[in-house]
C-alpha cells in the first residue's frame, strides 16, 4: 500500500480509493486501464475486452471496472450484500504470465490485505459460462474463509480454443471493500473516504437504485417488449455477422464488435425475462443455447478480424 496517500484515498477507508488502488496496481503491470463497457451485462467477462480479446494470438493486457447487472439478485435494498447491480474488477492478461499468482497476491497487498496475517488460499473452482460457450480452470481465492476473487485460466471462449491462454481475475469489489473497511452491510461502505457531513456511503449512491430496479426487474419490466427485443437482438446479431464478411471467401470480417453488442443485449434481456419468471425451466435451456450460438458466431467472426489476429 502506498503510504503517501491521503487518508480519504486509502483503500481501507474509501470505496473509490480502493478501486483506484487496484487500477494503479494493474496499470503498473502494463495493463491498459479501460472504462466500463457502455452496455448492461451480467459479468465483467462479457466485456468485449475479455470475451473477444481473449481470442486470437495477439498479446492483450487490460483491467477495468464493470458494473454487473444480475436482475434476479435484486433484494429491494434489504439484503446486506445482495444486489442486482454491483461492480466487478476485471483483469485479463494474454498470454497468462508465469507469475500471475504472485501478481494477484501483490494486488491484494496493494488494497491492504497483508498475507502475513491473513489466510489466503486458492481453492478449486472450475469456471464455465454456458451462455458464452466458455470454460476455464482455476480457483476461487479465499481470504480468511471468504471468497474474494475468481482466478481463471481461460481454455475456451465463445466456442474457440484459447491459443495462447489468457489469465482472468475477477474481484468482487463491494465484498472485498466491506472486508477491508470492516462493515457488514454493503450500503454502509464509505464511498468517498470522508467523514462527517462530507461522507458519502454506498447506500447514498445506490440504495434508491436497488429499490427501483428490484421493482422493475421482478414486477414491472415489460415482458412483451423484452421478448420482442430478444428476437430483434438475435436477428440483428445474425444480420451484422452475415453482412460483416469482407467478401464471399469469408476470410476477413469487418463487423464482429457491433454484432457482439447485440449478443450482450440478448443476454441481458434474457436475464430480465428470467427475473420476471416468464421463462419456464425447459425454455430456459433453449434461450441459453440461443445466446451461446450468437456468442460463438461472434467469436468466429472476431478471429477473422485484424485485431482478432487474422493475417
Amino acid at each position: 500500500m502506498d503510504a503517501s496517500l491521503p487518508a480519504h484515498m486509502r483503500p481501507e477507508r474509501s470505496f473509490q480509493g480502493f478501486i483506484l488502488a487496484l487500477q494503479r496496481f494493474w496499470a503498473e503491470q502494463g495493463c491498459v486501464i479501460l472504462q466500463p463497457y457502455d452496455m448492461e451485462m451480467g459479468a465483467g467477462t462479457f466485456h468485449p475486452a475479455t470475451t473477444l480479446r481473449a481470442l486470437g494470438p495477439k498479446p492483450w493486457n487490460a483491467a477495468y471496472v464493470q458494473p454487473s447487472r444480475r436482475p434476479k439478485d435484486g433484494r429491494y435494498g434489504e439484503n446486506p450484500n445482495r444486489m442486482q447491480h454491483y461492480y466487478q474488477f476485471q483483469v485479463i492478461m494474454k498470454p497468462s504470465p508465469p507469475n500471475l499468482q504472485d501478481l494477484y497476491l501483490k494486488s491484494l497487498a496493494a488494497i491492504g490485505i497483508d498475507s502475513a496475517v491473513h489466510d489466503i488460499r486458492f481453492v478449486e473452482d472450475d469456471w464455465e459460462s454456458p451462455t458464452l460457450g466458455a470454460w476455464g480452470l482455476g480457483w476461487e481465492c479465499w481470504c480468511d474463509g471468504m471468497e474474494v476473487s475468481q482466478f481463471t485460466y481461460f481454455q475456451q471462449v465463445a466456442g474457440v480454443e484459447c491459443a495462447p491462454v489468457a489469465g482472468e481475475l475477477t474481484y468482487g469489489l463491494e465484498r472485498l471493500a466491506m472486508y477491508v473497511q470492516g462493515v457488514d452491510r454493503v450500503y454502509d461502505l464509505n464511498f468517498n473516504g470522508r467523514d462527517g457531513d462530507a461522507k458519502v456511503t454506498y447506500g447514498d449512491v445506490f440504495l434508491q437504485a436497488e429499490r427501483e430496479y428490484s421493482k422493475h426487474n421482478f414486477e414491472i419490466a415489460d415482458t412483451t417488449m423484452l421478448f420482442e427485443q430478444f428476437k430483434m437482438a438475435e436477428a440483428a446479431c445474425r444480420k451484422y455477422l452475415d453482412a460483416g464478411w469482407k467478401d464471399s471467401k469469408r476470410e476477413a470480417h469487418l463487423m464482429a464488435l457491433p454484432a457482439y453488442d447485440q449478443c450482450i443485449k440478448a443476454s441481458h434481456v434474457f436475464n430480465l425475462l428470467d427475473a420476471r419468471g416468464v421463462i419456464s425451466v425447459t425454455e430456459r435451456q433453449s434461450y441459453i443455447l440461443r445466446v451461446r450460438e450468437l456468442a460463438k458466431a461472434c467469436g468466429e467472426a472476431w478471429i477473422h478480424t485484424e485485431a482478432g489476429g487474422a493475417a
Binding site: 498475507s115 502475513a116 496475517v117 489466503i120 480452470l137 480457483w139
Partner: protein
C-alpha cells in the same frame, strides 16, 4: 543402490485430486521401471496443494544385459533368406552365428546381446512421457507456450521439476530432461507465504526435512494427523468434542501445506437452526468442523478452522475473518429455515406442476401422483396404513422446494422430516419424508417403518418402471439416473424386511399408470410405442442386480440363474430364500453328488439327443424296466417329485432340498449298474426317458443345469 527423487511443483492442485494423482505417479513410474528391467525395492508418493512427490529407492544403477537367441534359416538356404537374417540380427557374416541341429535340419542361430543402459538414462526417457500423459481428471494449458500446438497439459500451471538419482553416500545426479521448456533441476520452494525462497535438495531424506523447515509437511497423512490431533485437543481443552468428519479432514488436508488449527465461535442464537443445517453451512462453505458439547452431545456455537499459515498476529485476524464469514452464512440459513416453516409442505406442491422431472416422464407433480398411487397399492403388502403411506408420498418431495434444501441439497429428506413434524404430521409420515430416499447405496441403512418402506419402494419402482417405459435403460458404465442403485434399493427393502411381493403384477400395473400419466406428453411429442414390454425386461434387470448383490456378499450368483430359469419367479424374497437353501444343499455331500449325477444325466441326454436328433420327453414305460436300479430310481423320482413340490408349495425350501437328497443313492446306483445305451433300442429309449425324469424332478427346486461346477 541408487534412489530416485521426483517432485512436480505447480500452482494449487484441487484437493480432491491429490491422493489419486500421487498414487498414479507412483504406479506409472514403478510399472515403467519394472517393464525396463529395473526392479526397485520400494516407492512412496506424496502430495500437497502445490506438489506431487515420489521417492523410489533401491533402483539398480544399470539395466541387466539382455541375451536373446534368434533362429535363422536352414543351412544352405537361399541367399535372400541369409541376407535378411544378417540384417535383422546385425551380424556381419554367418561365421558369427551358431549352428543348431534339430529333427528338421541344421539351423543358424544368432546370439544377440543387448547391453543394459544406465538407469538414469532410462529415467530421463520415461519420466517426460509419464508427465505428458498424466491422467488428470481435468487438465489445462497456460502461458505463452499454449499458443502452439502440442503444449503441455497439467492440472494447473507446472513450474518446476526436481529429479535426482544417486546412491545414498554420494552426491546424486540430476535426471536430465525437459518438458515444455521446464528443465529438471534440484530446486524447489517452501511455503508460499512463510518460506517462499528456493531450496536446493539432493535426495528424499533432505528434501522432506528441508521442506519441513520451510513450513511444508509433505505427507498428507501427517497433515491429517496434525489437524485431527490439534482439533481434538483444542476442543477437549474447553470441555467440547470435535464432530469428526473424515471426508472433510481429507479435503482440508489437501488445502494446506502447513496446518494451523484454530477455534472460532458464532452467536448462540443460531443454535436454533437444525444441527445438520449448521453443519452443512459451516462444512460446505467454510470447510470448518463443528463442535459439540461433551456433556449434552448437542452442537455448540464453536467451529474449528484450519489455516495454512502461522500468522504474525497469532491468528487473531484469521479467526475474526472466518467468524465474519460464517455469521452471515448462518444468518441466511436461519432466515431460510424460519421462512420455510411458514409454508406448509402441501402448499408448495402446485409449483411442481412447472418443474419437469424428465422431458419424457413429465413433471414432478405427475411423478408424485404416481408415487402416491403406487405407495397406496404397496402399503397393505408391507403392513403399512394406506392413508399414512399416501400422505407420506404426497409430502415426501415437497422439501425440494424449500429454501434450505435449495441451498444445501444434501439435507433433502431430512428437512422434509423436520418440516413435517413442525406442521404436526404423524411421526411415521415425517420419518418417511426422510427415509423414502433410502437405501442410497450398499452401505446405507434400510428403513424398517412400514410407511417408509411403502414410500421408498414406490419411489424407486416408479423411477425404474418410468425409465423402462421410455427406454432409458443403463448401458455399460452409463447409468445417469442411478437405476442400478434404485433396483438394488428395492431388493434390499424387500429382502431385509422380509416382504413378499409379486413384482411382475406390480410392474405391469404401474407400467399402465406411467403410460397413462405420460400419454399426453408423448402424443404431443409425436411418439408412439408398444405397450406391455416393460415388466419382463425389468425383472431380468432385477435378476442381474441380485446376482451382483450376491456376488458382492461372496455368495454364489450362478444359483440366481438356476432359480430364475424356472420361470415365473418374481418374488424376490422367495428367490433369495430358495437360493440360500440351494447354496446350503450344494455344500453337503448329498448336494454335490446329486449335482454331479444330474449333470451326468444331462450330458448323456445331450449327446444322445444330438445323435438321435430327438428329445426323450414323456413318461418311461415301467414294463421295460429290467434292472432293480431302474425300478428303484423310477420310484425315488416319483416320491421326491411329490415331496419336493409339496415342500416348495409350503415355501419350506430346506425341506425341499432334503427331499432332493433322497435322490442321490438311487441316481448313484443307477449310473453304477445300468448301461444306458442298451443294445435294445426300446430299453435304451426308456432309460433315456428315465434320465430325463431326473432332470424334470429336480426342477421342482431349481434348474440344476444352470449351476456351475
Amino acid at each position: 543402490m541408487p534412489d530416485l527423487l521426483l517432485e512436480l511443483f505447480s500452482e494449487e492442485i484441487p484437493a480432491r485430486m491429490q491422493a489419486k494423482a500421487a498414487d498414479d505417479l507412483r504406479r506409472m513410474v514403478t510399472d515403467k521401471l519394472v517393464a525396463e528391467g529395473l526392479v526397485y525395492e520400494g516407492a512412496k508418493a506424496f502430495s500437497t496443494p502445490r506438489r506431487l512427490a515420489l521417492t523410489v529407492h533401491g533402483i539398480p544403477a544399470r539395466q541387466p544385459d539382455l541375451k536373446t537367441e534368434r533362429r535363422g534359416p536352414k543351412m544352405g538356404a537361399p541367399d535372400a533368406a541369409v541376407q535378411g537374417f544378417l540384417k535383422a540380427t546385425g551380424l556381419t557374416s554367418l561365421d558369427e552365428a551358431k549352428i543348431q541341429r534339430d529333427p528338421k535340419g541344421d539351423f543358424y542361430i544368432a546370439l544377440i546381446e543387448k547391453p543394459g543402459r544406465d538407469a538414469i538414462d532410462v529415467l530421463a526417457e520415461i519420466l517426460p512421457v509419464i508427465i505428458r500423459t498424466f491422467p488428470w481428471p481435468k487438465s489445462m494449458r497456460w502461458g505463452a507456450r499454449s499458443g502452439k500446438p502440442g503444449s503441455l497439459s497439467w492440472v494447473r500451471p507446472l513450474h518446476a521439476i526436481t529429479a535426482t538419482f544417486g546412491p545414498e553416500t554420494e552426491e546424486p545426479d540430476i535426471v536430465k530432461f525437459s518438458v515444455d521448456g521446464i528443465e529438471t533441476g534440484q530446486t524447489t520452494y517452501g511455503h508460499r507465504f512463510m518460506a517462499p525462497a528456493p531450496i536446493s535438495v539432493r535426495r528424499f531424506e533432505d528434501y522432506e526435512a528441508k521442506l519441513k523447515a520451510a513450513k511444508v509437511i509433505l505427507d498428507p497423512q501427517a497433515r491429517k494427523d496434525i489437524i485431527f490431533a490439534d482439533a481434538k485437543e483444542l476442543t477437549f481443552a474447553q470441555g467440547f468434542e470435535l464432530v469428526e468428519d473424515q471426508v472433510l479432514l481429507d479435503e482440508v488436508s489437501g488445502l494446506v501445506e502447513w496446518p494451523v488449527v484454530m477455534m472460532g465461535s458464532f452467536e448462540p442464537e443460531y443454535l436454533s437452526i437444525p444441527e445438520e443445517v449448521i453443519r452443512a453451512t459451516i462444512r460446505n462453505n467454510q470447510k470448518c468442523f463443528v463442535v459439540r458439547d461433551a456433556k449434552t452431545g448437542k452442537l455448540t456455537n464453536k467451529f474449528v478452522l484450519t489455516a495454512n499459515i502461522e500468522a504474525t498476529d497469532g491468528g487473531k485476524t484469521i479467526v475474526a475473518g472466518n467468524e465474519r464469514v460464517i455469521r452471515p452464512r448462518l444468518s441466511d440459513a436461519k432466515f431460510f429455515y424460519e421462512a420455510d416453516l411458514k409454508t406448509r409442505l402441501e402448499d408448495r406442491l402446485p409449483k411442481f406442476e412447472q418443474i419437469v422431472f424428465h422431458e419424457k416422464l413429465g413433471t414432478q407433480a405427475a411423478r408424485i401422483k404416481r408415487i402416491e398411487r403406487l405407495a397406496a397399492e404397496i402399503a397393505p403388502m408391507v403392513g403399512a396404513d394406506v392413508a399414512k403411506a399416501t400422505r407420506a408420498a404426497h409430502l415426501a418431495k415437497a422439501d425440494l422446494l424449500t429454501e434450505v434444501v435449495g441451498e444445501f441439497p444434501e439435507v433433502q429428506g431430512l428437512m422434509g422430516k423436520y418440516y413435517a413434524l413442525a406442521q404436526g404430521e404423524d411421526a411415521s409420515v415425517a420419518a418417511a419424508c426422510e427415509e423414502h430416499y433410502k437405501p442410497q447405496g450398499p452401505a446405507d441403512r434400510v428403513p424398517t417403518d412400514p410407511v417408509s418402506v411403502a414410500v421408498a419402494l414406490a419411489d424407486k419402482i416408479d423411477t425404474l418402471v418410468g425409465f423402462w417405459a421410455i427406454d432409458e435403460k443403463p448401458t455399460g458404465s452409463k447409468d445417469p439416473y442411478a437405476l442400478r442403485r434404485a433396483a438394488l434399493g428395492v431388493i434390499r427393502l424387500l429382502v431385509e424386511n422380509g416382504v413378499r411381493l409379486n413384482l411382475t403384477k406390480l410392474f405391469d400395473r404401474h407400467y399402465d399408470t406411467v403410460l397413462e400419466s405420460i400419454a399426453e406428453r408423448l402424443r404431443s411429442a409425436g411418439r408412439t410405442f408398444g405397450v406391455g414390454m416393460g415388466s419382463l425386461d425389468l425383472l431380468s434387470f432385477f435378476a442381474d442386480r441380485l446376482k451382483v448383490q450376491l456376488r458382492e456378499q461372496g455368495a454364489r450368483h450362478d444359483l440366481v440363474d438356476a432359480v430364475f430359469a424356472l420361470g415365473g419367479q418374481d418374488d424376490l424374497l422367495m428367490i433369495v430364500r430358495r437360493v440360500e437353501a440351494l447354496g446350503k444343499f450344494l455344500e453337503t455331500d448329498d448336494g454335490k453328488n446329486l449335482l454331479a449325477g444330474i449333470k451326468r444325466a444331462s450330458n448323456i441326454l445331450g449327446i444322445e439327443e444330438k445323435k438321435d436328433k430327438r428329445s426323450f420327453d414323456g413318461a418311461p414305460d415301467a414294463a421295460l424296466y429290467g434292472l432293480d436300479e431302474e425300478k428303484a430310481l423310477a420310484k425315488a423320482i416319483g416320491e421326491v417329485k411329490a415331496e419336493a413340490s409339496a415342500a416348495v408349495a409350503k415355501e419350506d425350501f430346506a425341506a425341499a432340498m432334503s427331499a432332493m437328497a433322497k435322490l442321490r443313492p438311487p441316481v448313484d446306483a443307477f449310473f453304477d449298474k445300468v448301461r444306458v445305451n442298451d443294445d435294445d433300442a426300446k430299453v435304451r429309449e426308456n432309460r433315456l426317458k428315465l434320465l430325463n425324469e431326473i432332470r424334470s424332478a429336480t426342477r421342482a427346486v431349481a434348474d440344476f443345469s444352470k449351476i456351475q461346477d
